[in-house]
Amino acid sequence: MLRYIARRVLVMLPTLFLISLASFFIIQLPPGDFLTTYAAGMGAQDAIVAREHLAALEERYGLNQPFHVQYWQWISNIVCCGDFGQSFEWRRPVSSLIWDRLTLTMLLAVVSTLFMWFVAFLIGTYTAVRQYSIGDYFWTFVGFVGLAIPNFLLALVLMYISFRYFGQSVGGLFSPEYQNAPWSIGKLWDLFQHMWIPVIVIATAGAAGTIRIMRANLLDELHRPYTTTARAKGMQEWRLIAKYPVRLALNPFISTVGWTLPTLISGEIIVSVVLDLPTTGPLLLRALRSQDMYLAGSFILMLGVLTLIGTLLSDILLAWLDPRIQYDKVGSR
């Protein structure tokens, strides 16, 4: 097991290097750079930026350097000192920008993932046990509707409802009066009043898939001989299902844990933009649009790292949860 982990970690290093190279390269692909975006933004306001000014900024930001020099400056600072550089647009250290928004992003991701699991687990189990019943069709339908409605639309509808019928302020995670207030019980309550919309939106989108997987896996197990045996021995039906088939059917939940890690920082970008959530997703989108190289690059690099760690974590968890899975078999990976 330990050897396996060590090997996986070693393999991650070159992957990471490639990810960092690719992300840095892709960000530079669109025509122009941050300064053209900046000049264009000023131009849209009819303020013409002087050539000398742009040239000096180019010098200061090192944008006139060749690709490999820029890349080296960026990556060497990250590796040696954990310094992700400065964001051009915000003129603040990249790490502090990301940190600022990370707490709420994580809270949102964890709450909505738990909510999604909870819903998917209940519905998945129910629909498998009562296969082809009215309830099965109904809940499956609900699940698919959740999947089919675009997230942003659902967000807009819920926002309208909350504004129209509950009189809540539009957008954000806090009411204006709590926006800059220190943490308190009131603020926490205010947060939860606002958070139900994004939680529902994000959860409904993901729930359908998990419901189906749960249902299919459980259906496989329900007709296995061990279930019949247990039933024949007079075990109570619900206890039986919870104890044996459900536990086996849980695997997909665990194997997707890894995927939730990257969403911690990419968030649900569109939902966050529509709902104006102070999470990291919109920050990434903004950075990409303004070609804020170091900020966007660091984001993508962190997404890569988290995906790799997440995959490793879920593999380990799976092995721990399901003793049938073994890693030492050569060629299995």
């Binding site: 303020a47 900024l57 954000g172 966050s272």
Partner: protein
Amino acid sequence: MTTTTFTKRWYRVLALIPAAALLAAACSPGTGGDGDDSLPPLEQDDAVAEGQHEAPELAQMVEDGELPPLEERLPTDPLVVDVVDRIGVYGGTWRRAESEVYELEVTERRHIGYERLFNWTPEWEGGSETTPNIATDVEVNDEGTEYTFFLREGIRWSDGEPFTADDIVFAVEDYYFHEDLTADADPRLLVSGGPPEVEAIDDYTVKFTFSRPHGLFLQSVAEWATQKLTAMPRHYMEQFHADYNDDDLDDLVAESSLGSWVDLFVDKSDPMRNPDLPVIYAWKVTQPFGQGTDVVFERNPYYWKVDPEGNQLPYIDQHVVQLVEDSELIKLQAMSGELDFQRTVGGPADRALVMENAEQNDYHVVTMQPDHMNTMAIHLNQTTPDETKREIFRNKDFRIGLSHAINRQEIIDLVFYGQGEPYQMSPSSELFYDEELAKQYTEYDVDLANQYLDDAGYEMDSNGRRIGPDGEPITITMDFANDVNDDWTDALELVQGYWDEVGVRMELNGISRSLHTEIVRENGEHEATVWTGSGGLVPFMQTHWYFPSTQAADFASAWGEWYLNPDNPKAEEPPEGPRRQMELYDEILVTADPDQQVELMRDLLDILKDEFYSIGISSPPEGIGVVTNKMHNVPDQMFNSTSWPTPGPSNTIQYFIEE
């Protein structure tokens, strides 16, 4: 050399305003409360004696000994600001939202800190008026080479230190024209025949000497780009300047994790980012830019302006700007009455919706007069790289023909919601408005258009296509930025149809605005493009749509380059007409007499009429802003401009909030 007192007629009139305001104060019931009919509080000792002429929190701080009393904080002769509607009350928060980082960043210039030696007036007629602000007076010699400003005595930075002539000398010598900082500073408007010599004659007198006359200097100090001239507290900034700090500057740089002292200096002198920076603004940042989604400003206890009753300004305690992720949210928030004053809300399409909700949600709408001249002006680049296209575009009959071919009323009705009227590229300010320039060739007449195009020498072939001098059908490639203005694609598709009818094909190439900047603005490689045309209200300061004065003159990029620098490899010498315009503008720059400047500008515009560089579509509709009904003293109408940094010159300090 004779030195005469500067005599601009408007300036004299404006100088009377404070006096008039004081008289008005005498007639209105004072807050003093003993029903005194005595003289107005001309002497500031009287005005502030009761301690009721400041915000209650400040009075409390004075009482607790945390702050000197008001009379020690105010100048001996504080600037009296007239109120738009009535005397206000202290308190409240002004909430705003922005969706662009760039717009959030200019909150300082626009909303909280428009404080120059001379400010633009709230009326801003033609961009020729300025009014005393930090300076109480200026003396200009006859040639316009020497400007001596007399500063208001006793203005203090927000840390209590006095603001003196030395601060201005520091800003000019050690910031605008320091070799390492000059590029960041962008000193274009302060140059006339080279950098000025600046001298602090005494604490409150500062003299600028130019080697060549600077006819637009008073306008320049009121402009967008000269913000830092009065925003460099020498006593604080010296520690971050390499010329003044040999001891621990390196340590400071290292500590800050910024790359160099230049970065550190720029960062520390940024009033949006550095809460420690002393300012002379009405509000001072407490939650800086980039921390969380809001930027918060609080009242500056040392602010140096008072209302006509002698109450220290500003009225409003706090200014909060929220960065939202999408401009649609600004609309929603404004319409639910959550933004106290938002200067632009939505576009022409949203006008009806915003108005409809006003009563129900307790806000009203103010109008913004746009500074740009046109909804969409079409520029055929007369210096485009392709020789054939050049020849065609330089043919004035060709341009006139294309102009007549456009059905402007239809575009206005279909695309611009019926708002505006057919309009060419022509100044909209009354001072320079010229009916003929504004309306020439705007009539929709296909026959006339065909006649002009025939006269231009490009006959139609059997397929109804006009043939260029190279024997090929004429096709114009239109490189336009499709993410600046939602309406342009629609309007251009209509134009495409009209031009097809007269035998000229246009290919639409919609690109992002950064690519547009690169192709059009930096390299001038386009055949044709569209833009709005800034400077409609202030022709003096924004000239590139009137004659090729910079590379941003999209109708002849290379001529603009030539005016900036004839040695630039991209530059090309322009023909007679534009050359004459350049000479006229050079003359304006060295003319000290404002009346003569206006005359010269009119001559310049006459040549524009004759040259007919660009094809305009229609006059831009007024923008709308939203004000909650509890926010008062916001003018019903103002300009929307960067030159006149909306809403700064409307005196945001006298806005107030009362439920």
